[in-house]
Symmetry: none
Subunit: 224 residues, 4 copies
Amino acid sequence: MGTGLTESTSRLRADARRNREQIIAAAREMFLEQGTNASLEEIARRAGVGIATLYRRFPERHTLVQQVALENMALVGAELDRATAEHQDAWNALAQVIRRLVDLRVGAFMPVLALDLEEDMRSEGGVLKTRRDQLLARMEQLVRTAQQEGQLRQAITPIDIMLGIIKLSRPLPVIGAELNARLIEQQLELFLGSLHAVALDASEPLRRQRLTLDELDRYLETAE
Amino acid sequence: MGTGLTESTSRLRADARRNREQIIAAAREMFLEQGTNASLEEIARRAGVGIATLYRRFPERHTLVQQVALENMALVGAELDRATAEHQDAWNALAQVIRRLVDLRVGAFMPVLALDLEEDMRSEGGVLKTRRDQLLARMEQLVRTAQQEGQLRQAITPIDIMLGIIKLSRPLPVIGAELNARLIEQQLELFLGSLHAVALDASEPLRRQRLTLDELDRYLETAE
Amino acid sequence: MGTGLTESTSRLRADARRNREQIIAAAREMFLEQGTNASLEEIARRAGVGIATLYRRFPERHTLVQQVALENMALVGAELDRATAEHQDAWNALAQVIRRLVDLRVGAFMPVLALDLEEDMRSEGGVLKTRRDQLLARMEQLVRTAQQEGQLRQAITPIDIMLGIIKLSRPLPVIGAELNARLIEQQLELFLGSLHAVALDASEPLRRQRLTLDELDRYLETAE
Amino acid sequence: MGTGLTESTSRLRADARRNREQIIAAAREMFLEQGTNASLEEIARRAGVGIATLYRRFPERHTLVQQVALENMALVGAELDRATAEHQDAWNALAQVIRRLVDLRVGAFMPVLALDLEEDMRSEGGVLKTRRDQLLARMEQLVRTAQQEGQLRQAITPIDIMLGIIKLSRPLPVIGAELNARLIEQQLELFLGSLHAVALDASEPLRRQRLTLDELDRYLETAE
DNA sequence: TATGAATGAGGATTCATTCAT
DNA sequence: CATGAATGAATCCTCATTCAT
């Protein structure tokens, strides 16, 4: 319920808060395009603020990455609530949450794994770690239930799921956010299929739009 | 057969050839550790040559990446031969080839996708493109056959497979080559499972060693 | 008496005066540790006020340096009174004043020399210059008398004395205030000896604690 | 004799060596004017080379400071030889060496004391430390002998001498090299006087040109 | 009046890339 | 051919200083 970092935020001056939000928005974009090593100066430029303003809010690159991740996690938390409310069975709830985590690219903001404890533990009471562990705990719960339901393959571990999310989320360099989005969508259902335990009919279609080679080429040409 | 870049190579002086090989070996290492944006100067250093020597052989970073990829592809070509020779059924041959491509991290050297046509077409007669298309053609053949066999899900396209290979191959930054190897291995069988059409028993184990959270943490601690 | 800056000070609101004093205290500390180029923001932080508050009181770094020096000078003025009251002979009075000036590090706050006339003349009626000239005048008086007494070497000028004080007072960077204090003490008596005219017995001890190499090393190790 | 760093230098390409020398010359100037934290970019500019060239030769600021100090020390070593050859008595030899050390501003290049062991020990086999210790050893020898001769005050330690040299050598900021030179000269003889054990006649003049207040003011005005 | 916010400028440092030997 | 030298451009980061609340 909105504790922690988010609170201190609400005491900012109006203009400062707007700046903060613009920076985070720009950062999310850039990180998704170029990875978390994207140029901070470029982020500031896109956000329409001076570089020093960015540094005032986020003294280290790490802090900025964290905040973006945190905001995403908050969203995911809400989605978890919704997914469990909307779905009777654990498998469908789990699948929906995975889709959300991938859509928000949460994994893209955890370069040294979602499991990179080191930095997080130090920083401000480990808020990020705490949040992530809450998510993980709920996910583990879903995993176990889904396996009891017989819908999730027994061999799957939460690590598999986090890793899959991270690998899916990481953007390929150079090709731009749009194509990356298309590619991620392309692979997502495949990944979900690899988790699902139900007997697959060889001919069963994937729940997605098919990406053709032609379409791919068209993206690459415009990206150039 | 054997056209293109490889040929000109054989006309190099003995020492020049040795240099070339050392550079490529060093580059492969560095690219796997740090991605294809790794410092060229550092590559030259590891190879034991001057930076200018590297530039003489590989006038652009792109050229170097290509060469590493090419060498890998040659190996994969051979593996394709072997796989089809060794396996009666297309599915098992395909699976073996995918394993090889991932093991060699071919995808890691295709930052702008294996499908990045643009640069390749310009460069020296598009050797890379040609080679890749040969591989793709053979792979498409396998895909179709495996689907006729009823072993490969109908919905799968060659693009899915290439994308999967690329995403699997890309190393996560910072955590080192060793842990990356472990993680890739971890996900590989999962990916193969997502392709396979056979009815899965929910309890069927994956063909792999399970990575535990503890083990993961141990890696991260030493990496630090 | 009591003209200039000091007066306007007394008209400040109570809290404003407290702020002013805290800033000056923090500034003295920082200047002694890091020189007069120390970060103003850090000074404000130590003083517990906002940076803008500091700027309101001291629109330029120069002003702040001046004020610290001025406060010190006031103290020294009082010491001059006391020294001449307590000592019959000019030499001992002079020596005591020099000790006080060094102890208060007056010289450390005169980066462009106590003799830097330029800035001072412009600033608020040259208060600093006036005060300093008063001190210098009294010191010159002492110098002349001490020379007539035959206790101070004839060749010595007030400039020598001011210079000596300044050079002694300036802290060496990086090594911290404590070791600097020790080193200054170490050299002070040596300096006084260089002024004194009395025939020195080669074996006469200096009035000070001897600093050994070992002790010095210990300081440096902890400072690290 | 000429071992260590100096040698590797001689294998540089002709133009590279010239650059190196220009950088060191510019650095010496700047360090004397502004201290060892002077802007490296400005040094490169004055030396007429690009900033990266400076970094190639001197990867850390520390290295550059060291080299300047080393070159000075080599000169001082030679002077030590000459001083002991030219002077029968230890006192006069010692005094001459002190004058040389101050003239070359050796102390100005030892911000954390000539005794700053830490950094030096790490760097390239501690060449600087070795050199300095050689000088110190010879100086200690002179100190002892001069005390036995009855010319040097018993209470004086080598630390006193090094400290004096350092404090004398450190330039006052802002006022430029020329005035600093004048001021140092002004105080040098005073310092030597503080060491000497002979009975001083109160009226004995110092061996130096007297600096008047008027002259000082003239310097400051032009410096502005 | 007191404050935090915002900003630009300047310095450090690293690389890709071209040149001279 | 092989090399090391030189360079500029880009980024990170810190401060002094001014503005808006």
